[in-house]
């Protein structure tokens, strides 16, 4: 089996450009200390 991806899965040049921006902005996220913090839910009133 080849590891080559399905040509349908290839991204357009526009998508690649956006993906680069997203991934550049993601680097900082990976260094945030999260311990056991769960994913967000709807905010609750005081």
């Amino acid at each position: 089996m080849s590891n080559q991806s399905d040509p349908d899965d290839e991204l357009s040049p526009e998508a690649k450009e956006i993906l680069k921006i997203i991934l550049d902005d993601t680097i900082g996220l990976r260094s945030v200390e999260l311990d056991s913090v769960p994913p967000a839910t709807v905010p609750e009133a005081e």
Binding site: L11, I22, L29, V37, V42, P43, A45
Partner: protein, 452 residues
Amino acid sequence: MMTLADAVKLLARRETSPVELTETVLNRIDTLNEKMRVFITVTRDEALQSARKAEHELAAGHTRPLQGVPVSVKDLYDTQGIRTTAGAKVFADRVPEQDAVAVKMLKDAGAVIVGKTNLHEFAYGVTTINPHYGTARNPWNPDRISGGSSGGSASAVALGLGFGSLGSDTGGSIRIPASLCGIVGLKPTYGRVSLRGVVPLSWSLDHAGPMAQTVQDVAMLFQVIDGEARKYPLAPLTGDIKGIRVGVPRTYFYERLAPEVDGAVGSALKNLEKSGARVFDVDLPRTAVQRGVWLQIASPEVYSFHEPYLKKNANLYSADIRGRIEAGRVLLSMDYVRAQRIRTLMQRECKSVFETVDVIVTPTTPIPAPRIDDVGKPWSSDPEKAATALTRFTRFFNIVGLPAISIPCGFTSEGLPIGMQIVGKPFDESTVLRVAYAYEQDAKWFERRPTP
């Protein structure tokens, strides 16, 4: 220019009639829409039919809060029997069978819907430069953008093409166009106004809310579409803000501003202090990562909704929107969950900040409305593109889900509006509106209207 509150009063006193008011608005739309590209669909026949019904009810002594008041709805909200395009070619012939919940609430309150307003394609952008339905023009200068994605709604309100509008806001799409068009736009607390029947962009970041000329008008619309009105009733707008604690997050939210925006918001803060508010410096959390958090949450959610449409009709999307959506397909689920966990931290840390202040005040946008041709260019010596700059101060509050309003706080020397953002605690729209109203009544920027 007549406000929504004025229209309600005039109708109650029988000094005008729903049909007369609706015809005036429809005729004004006919005059201006070709040039300003504010509406995608004008619902003349349905509006006149609703106006006639409102007229009969008024004559019979039945009154409802917005009876006979002409308003518009962003073309992202489903409207029964009226096409709802979401600003997209993919949905050009989509006719919903039911009204969105918020639209039904407006209709139940007696409002007359005059049309569906233009927006950025699928609400995924802040310019409302729409390749399928035209560019919604800025009412103060048609060479400038109206902002987005609710650009048609904001421009319609500023031009008097209806007394209010419903917008939606995923990263600033109510507040940015409100700021750029010189009107008031409220993004309520996440979940407070129903999103049922609103074409989604990103489920966990989308907010529905009202736009109008004044704070009082926005409050009147909000009371009609508020899903939590019984639990959190709005306090009356008194203009009294003595003792209110205003937090000013100078780091990040007051950096890299156009000088005239800096000056206008600085003057507004002094104004609030003169009115009895106490102003404190505060720090909001995680500003360095907030853009990454938003992108990692929004991108996969957007792709998830669009996947079946892209598979069938990718050629009907504009290239840039298609690219932005497709990028969400290859992101890692690990990063989505990580972003949602950082979101929890941001919410907790904001809660701590709000133990020391009642509201937070920032500029809505760092720059006034850019020229249509300049949205993709750097806005100053700063390399940041103008369109990118527009979401810099708004998107944070979609992540944390807090209520936030944009109100006018001045004009540039070129006559372009400048907006100020006021943010409150979860479900405390009352305090947000209270502070906004006090400032508005003091500054009276709403008296200045555009002449297209």
